[in-house]
């Protein structure tokens, strides 16, 4: 809300500098976002009456005028404007006047006649580009008075951010009331009484009938007919005020309704009375009415619950949102009907939102206008229209209120206030703060006030609201800053957080940098990186920002490869990163979220130094990271890596990828990107990735072991064996088979070499294993171990159908 201080001063006088007004408003919840100081573009221009106009003796198009500038004197001025007339008030620039950046005005001889000043157009005063004629000042302009002051050109405009609860501050009067309360100044609210001239002098009277069919949506509707209207431009001062508040001037009637809305907060609407069938207003739901053409000449589709203003034949306006083309006030309108109503905020919000139509009026109705302010606003508007459009009241004010405002008395327990704020505010202070806001305050019981909020504060509904008002008007400065007693002597540990923190720690230690990517992605990326689960259905966003961001990610992979590409495009040679974040998918009809961990590793990875070979990222380097992590959680013995069917993850290299299982249930994928995918991303080297669903792992956490063993007392004896197997036979199956032989005293089995080449048959490989034997109670002898190992070799050979390599 733009607040010109000159307008505010119509209602309250405060001496404080503008900085202090801004500061106090901001502390009280009305943030002043900007302070604009305006200065007029001219000086030495005075309001003058044109007394006499006669032709210039030497020029047809020029006039010679006698003008009276009150105390400044009378002057003879040459004027070329076609609109100059005897009797009009106009701005007179006298000798020495400063107009814009021009040199000071001098007396001039124009076609042989001396001109002692200049009557100015809007353009000459720098007000607008208008230069068709001189600016006509209102009849109320003070003779000889400074035009800049009269037009409020010397002004300061505050831009105040109004929170949604403070509809009452969407007006100059409302903000003036706040300022008065904050500075303990008196508010000069306008006294609004109906005018005497009810009825036009020519005897024509109009009857206005109002029928409210939807009192639930419109509890009050007031209207007034005015006739004798002469549509035309508004006076400059009024236009100026509208413009300072960010509104454009249109014509005097519309401007008057907008002026009253800005001043009092009550939106008004003017209909062309002649276009209302039978002078009858019906406030009803749209029902069967489906279409309506609004002022902007667009056809709007209505919802049956939209509230309409109609006559007996047709709709006239979408209540509180926009008027109709069919009853618009135009240049020929002579009689108008002014509407001033209270519409329920919810219905206006719903309709305005659905139609995408936000107006100054709907904005105020949505936030709740003064529940009792309708008639006052009509009176104020009528007064203005009389003054600026020659209108006369042509009917009594029709005022219908089928649903009365509920009486609102709220008890304010001062003890409760103290225990909520943690500060004792003296009862007299609380009382005077509430009164300054327009509330009626009385004592209900000892320590309890009875507060009736003013009709314009619909946001004050219960005790907490009143406490806020009291605290707010003190700028919250009555309240000290104290530390509470601890609620938790020791804050309980959140396992999920600890787990995610530990996971992050392992990843950092393995050399991966943490990345963060946005959860919205393109459907093509979800199709390409289809996640851990086969046939995952992505979650669609109903109202996405764009088609490229229309789904939620099922995998963290697209974000990470994008980040990889981003860095390679910026001179990076390697990129090793991980992300922990949520992924989303449809489970049946429900959208679900899952904690995932994913990593991407590209380029030189480990142990780089000058003169040394670095390890390039690949399947085994990233598998090592994952193994380190699984060991850290203590679940590595339950995790297996199984070669992947290429259809399960088409983005992975079919021969260099695996599914990761925990107790045989899939929890992740690991592998190098498919060469086709790498080519799409323009990668020259292998790019290794993995993705893990952490949901199932969080339960394991990084919980420490419960039991421990001392290191063994007796040495182990190692015996090796090498088996020749089919090339594709997985190594972990060999180890498993040997363990299953159940040799006594066998402590561990490890693969230490794999050989393929001329020494074994084509399609075969040799797997070398180290077996360690150990007894708990003695040092084993060679003979004992040889006996066990020989049996083991025989059993393993048979179990695996393998040759022993000599």
């Amino acid at each position: 809300m733009k607040l010109p201080l000159s307008w505010m001063r119509d209602f309250v006088s405060v001496d404080a500098p503008v900085e202090e007004i801004s500061r106090r408003l901001s502390y009280a919840g009305l943030v002043v976002e900007n302070v604009e100081k305006l200065t007029p573009g001219f000086a030495g221009v005075f309001a003058a009456r044109v007394l006499n106009v006669e032709k210039h003796p030497n020029a047809d198009r020029l006039n010679l005028c006698d003008v009276d500038a009150g105390q400044k004197g009378q002057f003879k001025v040459v004027c070329g404007a076609p609109n100059v007339k005897a009797g009009m008030m106009a701005p007179l620039a006298l000798v020495g006047a400063q107009l814009g950046k021009q040199p000071p005005l001098e007396a001039a001889i124009i076609r042989g006649v001396r001109s002692e000043g200049m009557l100015c157009s809007e353009r000459e005063l720098g007000l607008s580009q208008e230069q068709a004629g001189i600016l006509a000042l209102g009849a109320d302009a003070p003779l000889g008075g400074d035009v800049a002051a009269y037009l409020h050109l010397d002004d300061t405009v505050l831009d105040v951010e109004i929170t949604p609860n403070r509809g009452d501050c969407l007006s100059v009067l409302g903000l003036a009331r706040e300022v008065a309360a904050l500075f303990a100044a008196r508010l000069r609210a306008p006294r609004l009484r109906a005018a005497h001239s009810a009825g036009s002098p020519d005897g024509a009277r109009f009857t206005v009938s109002v029928s409210i069919d939807a009192p639930d949506l419109c509890p009050r509707y007031a209207a007034l007919a005015m006739t004798g209207i002469k549509i035309g431009p508004s006076p400059a001062w009024l236009k100026r005020r509208l413009e300072l508040c960010g509104m454009r001037a249109l014509n005097n009637v519309v401007d008057a309704t907008n002026y009253v809305m800005l001043e009092l907060g009550q939106p008004l609407h003017a209909f062309d009375f002649g276009k209302i069938a039978g002078g009858k207003i019906i406030v009803r739901r749209a029902g069967d009415t489906r279409e309506f053409v609004t002022l902007d000449n667009l056809s709007r589709t209505l919802d049956p619950n939209d509230l309409l203003i109609a006559d007996g034949d047709k709709p006239l306006a979408i209540a509180g949102v926009m008027g109709g083309l069919n009853s618009e006030v135009g240049d020929c309108t002579g009689t108008i009907l002014l509407e001033s109503a209270y519409f329920e905020p919810m219905t206006i919000a719903r309709t305005a939102r659905r139609l995408g139509l936000r107006s100054e009026a709907s904005y105020r109705f949505e936030r709740g206008v003064d529940r009792a302010g309708q008639v006052g606003a009509l009176i104020r508007a009528a007064e203005l229209i009389r003054r600026i459009a020659r209108g006369r009241e042509a009917s009594p004010i029709a005022d219908f209120e089928p649903r009365k405002a509920e009486p609102r008395e709220i008890a304010l327990d001062l003890g409760a206030m103290e225990s909520l704020l943690g500060a004792a505010i003296p009862p007299t202070v609380a009382r005077s703060r509430l009164k300054s806001l327009g509330a009626q305050v009385s004592t209900r019981a000892k320590g309890v006030l009875a507060v009736v909020p003013p009709s314009f504060r619909s946001d004050l509904a219960e005790q907490a609201d009143l406490i806020e008002e009291v605290a707010r008007l003190g700028g919250l400065e009555d309240i000290p800053a104290l530390l509470p007693e601890r609620v938790n002597p020791l804050a309980p540990v959140n396992r999920e957080r600890e787990f995610l923190k530990g996971t992050r720690e392992v990843m950092l230690g393995c050399g991966l940098t943490e990345a963060a990517t946005i959860a919205f992605i393109a459907p093509a990326d979800n199709a390409r990186f289809s996640g851990i689960q086969a046939a995952t259905r992505p979650v669609k966003v109903t109202n996405p920002l764009s088609a490229e961001l229309s789904e939620l990610r099922v995998s963290l992979m697209p974000g990470l490869v994008t980040a990889l590409r981003f860095n390679l495009n910026r001179e990076a040679r390697a990129f090793h990163a991980f992300e922990m974040g949520k992924t989303f998918r449809m489970d049946g009809d429900a959208a679900t979220e899952h904690h995932h961990l994913a990593a991407v590793s590209y380029g030189a990875y480990a142990l780089w130094a000058i003169g040394e070979h670095s390890v390039a990222a690949g399947f085994f380097s990233i598998k090592g990271i994952l193994e380190t992590y699984l060991e850290a959680i203590g679940i590595s013995s339950r995790v297996a890596f199984k070669a992947l069917e290429s259809a399960d993850a088409p983005f992975l290299h079919p021969g260099r990828s695996a599914i990761v299982t925990l107790d045989d249930a899939p929890i992740g994928l690991i592998g190098e990107l498919h060469p086709a995918e790498a080519m799409r991303l323009d990668l020259n080297d292998p790019c290794a990735v993995y993705e893990l669903d952490l949901s199932g792992l969080i339960a394991y956490g990084f919980s420490p072991r419960k039991t421990f063993q001392p290191p063994p007392k007796y040495p182990a004896i190692r015996r090796d064996l090498a088996l020749v197997l089919d090339r594709n036979f997985p190594a972990d199956m060999v180890v498993k088979a040997i363990r299953e032989c159940g040799a006594s005293l066998l402590e561990s089995v490890e693969v230490f070499d794999v050989y393929e080449g001329t020494a074994v048959a084509a399609g075969k490989k040799s797997v070398a294993l180290a077996c360690r034997y150990r007894a708990k109670d003695r040092t084993l002898t060679d003979e004992e171990v040889n006996r066990i190992h020989t049996v083991l070799i025989e059993q393993a050979r048979m179990r695996l159908g393998a040759e022993l390599r000599q």
Binding site: L420, G422, G475, L482, P484, K501, T513, V541
Partner: protein
């Protein structure tokens, strides 16, 4: 006669075992003097011809010379070895200024870094951490937080809706509802998490961002607005290292009274600059006393319980703290930016 011979052997040996004697020369002396058929051995063999009375003296002299030569050889050999070692050490010298061989440790994402620091401050004040969901229903994201169906405040938080009727939370305040629904006071909880609003990714905004919601609830009178001010002032002191803060009345549907916490603008330290619109202050977070309607929504009796709640944007606060001014930096994952952040989570403030 024999004595002169011995003296001659000693003199010659010692002369040859000069300071600059090389390994070959030393070996030659050792063999000639001390060897199995060396000069001293030869003389020992000739002892029979020495008169009995002189034998002990000659024997002693032989041993003396032997000892002297051996000691001299030992000294020279040590010296030679030391010289050889020193020569070889010199040859194996490295350029110690070359980089070491290492697996570089990864770096924390700045959002994590900032979030962890914030959480640690609240944990040290006795708050527990609760993790809550991103996919939410209207009740937990809006209705229970006192947003009526067409509440104008909903416009400030343009919401993403999902197929199936759910939405993405627009703030972590849903955490307040989720935790309070399940548990009874006293509670002191912070809920971190991602939030989503329909804003494009720009210098100032992102469709996905991070927030921390915090709240404390207890019996009426035990947690007051003064405590809200105390806890958040302490937070600002710990996190930003400033005591230049102010509380300003504001409005949120779910708190009453509501306030915003401002701190001195980091750029101008309160003097006023274009970034803070010449006010000298920047907004840090929103807070207030939990609205009675929120209490009612989670079946708490508002006459029995009260408490405060606050919420802050991690990226926004991070921009203030880090002194950078582009939201996109957080989601581009540019290593040249990320590598400036610590490689250890938490711990150091």
């Amino acid at each position: 006669m024999m004595r002169e011979q011995l003296e001659e052997i000693r003199r010659r040996a010692m002369a040859e075992l000069a300071d600059d004697a090389g390994e070959a020369q030393i070996d030659a002396v050792r063999v000639r003097v001390l060897g199995r058929s060396g000069e001293l051995t030869e003389i020992m063999r000739g002892m029979r011809e020495v008169p009995n009375a002189e034998r002990p003296a000659i024997g002693q002299l032989i041993n003396q010379i032997k000892g002297e030569v051996e000691a001299r050889i030992e000294t020279l050999s040590e010296k030679l070895k030391a010289a050889a070692l020193s020569k070889s050490l010199n040859e194996k010298r490295l350029d110690v200024t070359l980089p070491g061989m290492r697996i570089a440790r990864g770096h924390l994402h700045p959002i994590t870094d900032i979030l962890e620091k914030m959480l640690q401050i609240f944990e040290s004040m006795g708050f527990e951490v609760a993790m809550t969901q991103d996919i939410e229903d209207d009740f937990h994201n809006f209705a229970a937080l006192n947003f009526t169906p067409h509440h104008p405040a909903r416009d400030m938080q343009d919401t993403f809706y999902l197929e199936g009727g759910m939405l993405l939370r627009t703030h972590t305040s849903n955490g307040q509802i989720r935790v309070m629904e399940k548990r009874r006071p006293p509670l002191a909880v912070v809920c971190p998490g991602r939030c989503y609003r329909r804003d494009d990714l720009t210098v100032r905004s992102s469709p996905m961002f991070t927030q921390i919601e915090g709240f404390m609830v207890d019996k009426r009178g035990r947690i007051t607005m003064a405590h809200l001010k105390g806890v958040l002032t302490e937070f600002a002191r710990a996190f930003f290292g400033t005591t230049a803060v102010r509380f300003r009345a504001s409005y949120f549907p779910f708190t009453e009274p509501s306030a915003e916490l401002d701190m001195h603008c980091i750029l101008c330290d309160g003097a006023g600059c274009p970034v803070c619109k010449h006010s000298g202050w920047t907004e840090v977070l929103g807070c207030g006393m939990i609205h009675p309607n929120v209490m009612r929504a989670v079946q708490y009796d508002p006459d029995e319980y009260q408490g405060f709640a606050f919420g802050m944007g991690v990226e926004r606060t991070g921009l203030l703290k880090l002194g950078v001014d582009d939201m996109r930096l957080f989601f581009e994952n540019d290593l040249r930016f990320l590598s400036q952040f610590p490689a250890l989570s938490g711990g150091v403030r």
